[in-house]
Symmetry: C2
DNA sequence: AACGGTCATTTGATCGTTCAAATTGGAGGG
DNA sequence: CCCTCCAATTTGAACGATCAAATGACCGTT
């Protein structure tokens, strides 16, 4: 955080030369409509204060001149930025098409509250914190959205301290209270296992991730609980922690399939992991859906295409994004608004692999 | 474009109440370092004009107070925004994981020229044009990046008219000249077919898309040209135009596989389409890599996981993003800079399916 | 006719920064 | 000793909008 932002020069002269016709200002509109600055401003921001007749005249002028309020000027005066910052998840780890969908939905959702998404990339988590600090210091963002909360997430602490509104995709796992929206992963795997039990399966596998994220834990818990309630002995559940490395995952899954008491039903943390299972099944001439059942997570595009249709747990991403936007809007309107947490239910999409 | 931006109120009072300690301004730093505003400004923007000793004093003050220049104020004065706008591709259409990677790389790349990515979503293409207009009128973005140029793209015309710098991912297909960066799709399919020919394949299939995009045409051309040069008769190339609908794609591919002279080598427009081929092959107990070869496009995460490893044509997305940032930077620095087009070469990733 | 109140509109100040021009203080030359 | 020149720093103005307070017009009441 110490070094100063360096300057990639954008000269004013160069810009002005480019724009033969400079964008009209509020003064231009005022002159054209024969009113004052402020009346134009009111036309845009508080039309009820303006006489109907004047309103029309000003609006005409705005249309004729193609006027739009200069964002930077407005933002400076109102001390806002109408931007929501979001760290685009690092490429290496994720393989997570949900987050891509989420970003899209988030963009749409925050547009509905009059904001844009401002993206930034940080390779390291420390860098991420530094960027939040930076954005806050520059008043470059009105709010922050971040995903994948950990236990006692340092981001929450920093943002609260700086008085920067934020909402996370992922609930509070630690002591820090804040607004969040999340999907009930436990309910998701419960749906999957219940479905598999109904299909007559008795030997199960849960394919999680190596990082001990609370998300993984919750989903695994859903598997365990549901099996326990159904009276399935613990020995009939195999838990595999995969590294998200296609080669080693393949070997791990293959090993499980070759074991004497191989499971017949697989529930996994992601559709891609499920793809590994499908591949290994086929390598052993086992047909998914007939010889074994596979259920993925996320309903990514892959799920529709893989093996004639992969069953999967779909997260209501659109709703997640909308709720986040709503909570953000409420915090922006009233910074002292109480925190709110919203837990949404996932849905099981049954296709051919189960 | 007619209606005025509505106002989601953010009151100044509310914000000020929230920020117990308001962010320090340049004046605060100046006072602390016992210099004038402008000297602080120079410290940040033109350090060579400041005496070494003073420089240190000011920098100390900046660190002590945790000062960062207010973006909106700076932007207002310099008539910039240091933001690059990008339309996040609509969800429905292309199940294109390349574009997700691209967005990530773009974010990193424009950070290196001191900018952020400003996202917006538009469902309709007209809406997209309107948004560009809007962004330009508000001076909310310094430049635009857009993807997937069509023939005589209206976006190029609009942005040129408004004097808004832009670079496209996708070359100029029409008469409109502008800066672009693209990947040579023809070279990509040439690599794929050459590889398949070397493996002894003689009957081929090209799986394209129904929309007659120039991208599809180029890639198909690469297939045709290479086969012609190799003396493969035209009748031994089957061209399938798929709708990107998993169910109907499946039927189309299945039909081809069941035909008397079914191809043994498949090259497709995307990894997902290739996944359909893999699925249909396996449904017929044909082993990809042994009984038939399949090559996808994009090297999406799926490729690593599918069927023990899907061969695919990888696009140098990181370089695309960097070149785009470079071209943008040059346009921002000097709006009269000549247009530049950069064509990058893809690379064949050989895995088990070929 | 003077007064108070409401509605519509205008004026002056301000947000925090950078630009452009002015000022200051030395060093060097005639 | 004065003048010029240059480097370092400061001052005044401006970017384009909104806020807060002032003004003006019109109305009914006393």
């Amino acid at each position: 955080m110490d070094e100063l932002a360096d300057r990639t020069t954008f000269s004013i002269a160069a810009r002005q030369e480019r724009f033969a016709h400079a964008a009209p200002t509020i003064e231009d509109v005022a002159r054209h409509a024969q009113v004052s600055r402020q009346t134009v401003s009111n036309t845009l921001n508080a039309p009820d204060r303006v006489r109907h007749e004047t309103l029309e005249r000003v609006r005409d002028a705005i249309n004729v001149l193609g006027y739009r309020a200069n964002r930077n000027a407005r933002n400076l005066r109102t001390r806002t930025s109408r931007a929501i910052a979001y760290r685009i998840p690092p490429l290496g780890g994720h393989l997570n098409s949900v987050m891509d969908t989420f970003l899209h939905e988030l963009t749409e959702a925050v547009e509905s509250i009059g904001c844009h998404v401002l993206l930034f990339a940080s390779k390291e988590d420390e860098e991420e914190l530094a960027t939040y600090w930076e954005l806050s210091a520059q008043s470059a963002a009105d709010g922050i959205v971040f995903a994948g909360t950990g236990r006692n997430d340092p981001r929450a602490a920093l943002l609260k301290e700086r008085g920067m509104p934020f909402v996370s995709f992922g609930r509070t796992w630690g002591i820090e209270e804040h607004s969040w929206v999340d999907v009930d992963g436990r309910a998701g795997t419960t749906l999957a296992i219940t479905h598999l039990l109904a299909r007559g399966h008795r030997r199960f596998a849960w394919l999680g991730t190596t990082d001990d994220s609370p998300v993984n834990d919750e989903r695994e818990l859903g598997v365990r609980e549901t099996l326990r309630h159904a009276g399935v002995p613990e020995a009939d559940l195999h838990v595999l922690r995969l590294k998200n490395d296609s080669e080693s995952d393949r070997i791990a899954v293959g090993g499980l399939l070759d074991s004497p008491e191989a499971p017949t039903a697989f529930v996994s943390m992601s559709d891609l992991q499920a793809l590994t299972v499908l591949g290994e099944l086929e390598a052993r001439s086992l047909a998914p859906g007939r010889d074994a059942a596979v259920i993925g997570f996320d309903d990514s595009p892959v799920a529709a295409y893989a093996a004639g249709g992969l069953s999967t747990v779909r997260q209501p991403i659109t709703r997640v994004a909308r709720e986040i936007a709503r909570l953000l809007a409420s915090q922006l309107a009233d910074p002292s608004a109480p925190y709110e947490g919203i837990l949404l239910e996932p849905e099981l999409v049954v296709r051919r692999t189960s």
